[in-house]
Symmetry: C2
């Protein structure tokens, strides 16, 4: 196991790092980060004051976003582990969300750090099912289940940075050169 | 039926209008708006360029947010209808999300207007189940199901605008006066 504390998302290739939720190159995004702690993957995130639902509580769409990106990141990390490969080695193993289910058990308090703890329920073929719980002040406030599916290699290869984002190297890149 | 085109969310009381997804008083928020079109409730939203997942496609967490706020808004409007009451009449009928399920059927293209069309599957007691589909370029890209539950009146009455938000009247308000 690597001793360094790079997040799962820090291993994504540049052209997959513009996700609003977890892309390190999306300057407007949430920058969700995930790490192994033993067999659990953990994400910590403190919402902004404006990430409110009803006053004093966290917006459910933000909770869904945390669970979504943390779970696809966990799926990627779990797939590398299952193949005995180092995170970030080629070809990249990157997952997209096929389905997302969130049960909101109680209102999630705003103003404290949140923790999402995820475990891999199933890996089969290109599919990984990730279960998670969102914890605030020691209480489980939401539960998530994500079915993540590995992106096809040909789609991966065709991606270039999107319009409207700065290039990661700071100057415009040629588009469409794969 | 009212002839004016106020959105469902425009009828929410001030202290329930700070939602990051749909609160008209949340200056950082998405300002999701929902309207009846016959028995369907419709929300139209054009994501920003930075609301990306993989390049060229819409972030799944944003899709979940649209479905979430549109569905709780639809639950509220449907409850007023079921009681034969005008939207916005007292006491307010406001719903929170008990569960959210999104199936991502295909990547949702970024750069075009999205439409979420919702129907009420069930109203029973304080619970409303709302089904929806998210459409881009005429294609259904995602399906949602939300179980919405009516907020208790005592909780409603206790809410005040949250810390970190400007007051809707533009100057500080006394807190904790219900």
């Amino acid at each position: 196991m690597a001793m360094e504390q790079k997040a799962f998302q820090d291993y994504y290739p540049d052209n997959l790092s513009y996700c609003y939720g977890c892309g390190r190159l999306n300057e407007h995004g949430l920058h969700i980060k995930s790490y192994w702690e033993g067999d659990e993957a953990v994400c910590r995130f403190t919402p902004k004051p404006y990430h409110s639902a009803i006053p004093g509580y966290v917006y459910g769409g933000l909770i869904a976003s945390l669970i979504d990106c943390h779970s696809t990141g966990t799926a990627s990390a779990a797939a590398y582990r299952a193949q005995g490969r180092e995170m970030g080695s080629e070809p990249p193993l990157r997952f997209v969300t096929a389905s997302l289910k969130v049960d909101y058990l109680r209102p999630t308090p705003l103003g404290v750090p949140l923790e999402v703890r995820a475990t891999v329920k199933e890996i089969s073929g290109r599919k990984v099912i990730v279960e998670s719980k969102l914890i605030a002040n020691g209480e489980v406030c939401a539960r998530g289940e994500v079915v993540a599916v590995q992106m096809p290699e040909h789609l991966l290869a065709a991606l270039t940075p999107p319009q409207g984002h700065p290039s990661p190297v700071g100057e415009p890149r040629e588009r469409g050169q794969g």
